[in-house]
């Protein structure tokens, strides 16, 4: 007897999901206990509940990122590349789930969703090749008028807050997070407010791909509420405001100026092959003088 294709069981109730945050390598609930409804782009069907992070969750995420920064920034570039590549492998393994989530979140066709997942995997692989090459591109040996070797090397900035793009929930997210962590920064990411499910699944991927806990912290909730806290936080060294609403960017930049954070804004076409500029935006150039031996 030929197998029949599996039919969804009409009598079975769907498992309602309430997702949590990803902070310090763990999945805590929001300290505030709040959650919000995530609905499909087409039809407005309830997809799941997501945790609605509070300012204290943002603070905890920054603490976790700061704690993780030391080990991650001093890991070898080769190791960082391997970890990113491993993350790409694991997205590949869950491609079906990601495609389903993008389809529901962004209201595109299944073909387009699959193509987007493939692009996100390729994007991660692209950045996975960079950690041990970025110093050759952004640094170098400088000519100086004296008996010295003079080197410039890019070093990670520190804790970087990333406001992920609101529209492109996976490809855009990967495109803004990967360049930050590739060079050794630790990231606090605010996921797309309306479309957080791919970001949550990406957290699950990152939690199991050898990325040390705290290097990426994923917050879901009201972007306006969280972005302001992160922009004003004195232990955050840089902020990517690409995903913030256009009207709020000036205020975020003003808050960020209090401790002279680096502020980056780059609305890229996520489908295009990127350039290294997002990586270089979150590095500091260190220049070393060394006497020439005779």
């Amino acid at each position: 007897m030929p197998d029949k294709p599996a039919q969804p069981d009409a009598a079975r109730l769907a498992v309602r999901k309430t997702y949590k945050l990803y902070v310090g390598g763990a999945f805590p609930r929001s300290e505030s206990g709040r959650s919000y409804q995530v609905r499909a782009a087409k039809g407005g069907e309830l997809l799941a509940f997501a945790a609605q992070a509070s300012r204290k969750d943002a603070r905890d995420a920054v603490e976790a990122a700061r704690a993780a920064f030391g080990a991650w920034s001093s890991a070898t570039a080769y190791n960082r590349g391997q970890v990113l590549y491993r993350a790409a492998e694991m997205i590949e393994g869950r491609a079906g789930q990601f495609a389903g989530e993008i389809l529901a979140a962004e209201g595109m066709s299944m073909t387009a969703a699959r193509r987007t997942v493939a692009a996100a995997i390729d994007r991660l692989v692209w950045y996975a090749g960079w950690p041990d090459k970025v110093a050759q591109v952004a640094g170098g040996a400088n000519q100086v008028a004296g008996p010295y070797f003079n080197f410039s090397v890019p070093e990670p900035t520190g804790v970087v807050a990333v406001i992920a793009p609101a529209e492109s929930s996976l490809l855009g997210l990967v495109s803004v997070v990967a360049p930050v962590i590739a060079t050794g920064n630790a990231a606090v990411v605010v996921a797309s407010e309306e479309r957080p499910l791919p970001a949550i699944t990406l957290s699950e991927v990152l939690a199991t791909c050898d990325l040390p806990g705290g290097v990426v912290n994923m917050l879901t909730g009201r972007t306006g509420e969280l972005a302001a806290v992160l922009a004003g936080h004195f232990d955050v060294n840089a902020i990517d405001i690409t995903g913030a609403a256009a009207g709020s960017r000036a205020e975020l930049a003003r808050l960020a100026a209090a401790n002279v954070k680096r502020v980056f804004l780059g609305e890229d076409d996520w489908a295009e092959t990127p350039t290294p500029r997002r990586m270089l935006a979150f590095t500091e150039t260190k220049t070393v003088w060394h006497p020439v031996g005779s």
Partner: protein, 321 residues
């Protein structure tokens, strides 16, 4: 019952008649037992208390005045002690409103350096002594250690008890040692470190607390900071109850110092709640409650900055030592 056993007509020597092992055992083992589950539950319940806004700011400032800013490392130098002293007198160079800490805690050979730096200010110099942290030396050596620190100008001495003798039931020996050290201290205050992590049970913590108080301790202190776990809320709760009971029995106020592993302002405030709810308001003062710590001070300053400015503070803006 206890008060009648303890109260002597002169109000002086609490140990008149109870200095033998047997007599001390009878007294210490006659103390009420500790409900361990109850203590843990009570400490956990008090840890959930929420302290906000003005109360939090007041608690942070109070905690700063209770800090014994500590450096007890083999790599300590006079230079490091000097910078620590500068921080003790003026914790936040950018804000004169932050009060100075209670004391600086160092090894005996660095007391002179600390004293020279602190001068006649309000910050006291505390020194660990008596073969800290293990306490494994003869009484002669321990007393010489104490005399050394006191001669160099220490205002407070942190001694360790002989945990081996205590656990073996040689209470008389422990008691005699504390009395001898107290005598060697002269005018200096004596803090007795129980090293609760090595005492195994909360009943033992209560007994060691009473033994130290009976022998003349001005403070009882949880830990050296060299053994894990160091200070924990349940242990602090039991010791705070012991000083409260001792005050009721004898009329003498003994302080409590928690030390080791207290790194965040949140932890510090939880201890203050424990103090208020267990021993009472009287103990909410640097003269009767201390927190031995090194990195805690920066977190207190960070949280203070947050309360005043509304922005979360970064660690880059505070001195390291």
């Amino acid at each position: 019952m206890l008060s009648s056993q303890l109260r002597s007509p002169q109000g002086g020597d609490w140990l008149a008649g109870v200095s033998s092992d047997a007599a001390l055992r009878q007294l210490l083992h006659g103390l009420p037992g500790v409900d361990q589950v109850g203590v843990h539950a009570r400490a956990a319940a008090l840890a959930t208390r929420s302290i906000k806004k003005e109360a939090k700011l007041a608690a942070l400032d109070l905690a700063v005045t209770m800090v014994d800013l500590t450096t007890l490392e083999g790599a300590d130098t006079p230079g490091k002690v000097r910078s620590l002293c500068a921080k003790a007198m003026r914790p936040d160079p950018a804000d004169a409103a932050v009060p100075p800490v209670a004391a600086v805690c160092v090894y005996p050979d660095l007391v002179a350096a600390a004293k020279a730096e602190l001068g006649r200010g309000t910050v006291a110099v505390a020194s660990v002594a008596t073969a800290f942290p293990s306490g494994r030396a003869s009484l002669k050596v321990k007393l010489a250690d104490v005399a050394d620190a006191v001669d160099a100008g220490a205002d407070e001495i942190d001694m360790v008890i002989d945990r081996g003798a205590f656990l073996a039931g040689r209470y008389g020996q422990v008691c005699e040692e504390i009395r001898a050290v107290k005598e060697a201290c002269g005018p200096a205050h004596l803090k007795v470190i129980l090293e609760t992590a090595e005492l195994a049970t909360l009943d033992n913590v209560v007994r060691a607390s009473w033994l130290a108080m009976l022998a003349g301790a001005d403070f009882i202190k949880t830990s050296t900071g060299k053994v894990s776990p160091a200070a924990t809320p349940p242990v602090a709760l039991v010791m705070l109850a012991a000083v409260r009971d001792f005050e009721q029995a004898s009329g003498r106020l003994v302080g409590v110092k928690v030390a080791g592993g207290i790194r965040t302002a949140k932890d510090a405030i939880r201890y203050l709640v424990l103090v208020n709810e267990t021993a009472g308001r009287t103990w909410l003062a640097p003269g009767l409650f201390r927190i031995g710590a090194s990195s805690l001070l920066n977190d207190l300053l960070r949280q203070r900055g947050k309360q005043l400015s509304g922005r979360y503070q970064g660690q880059d803006y505070f001195t390291l030592d």
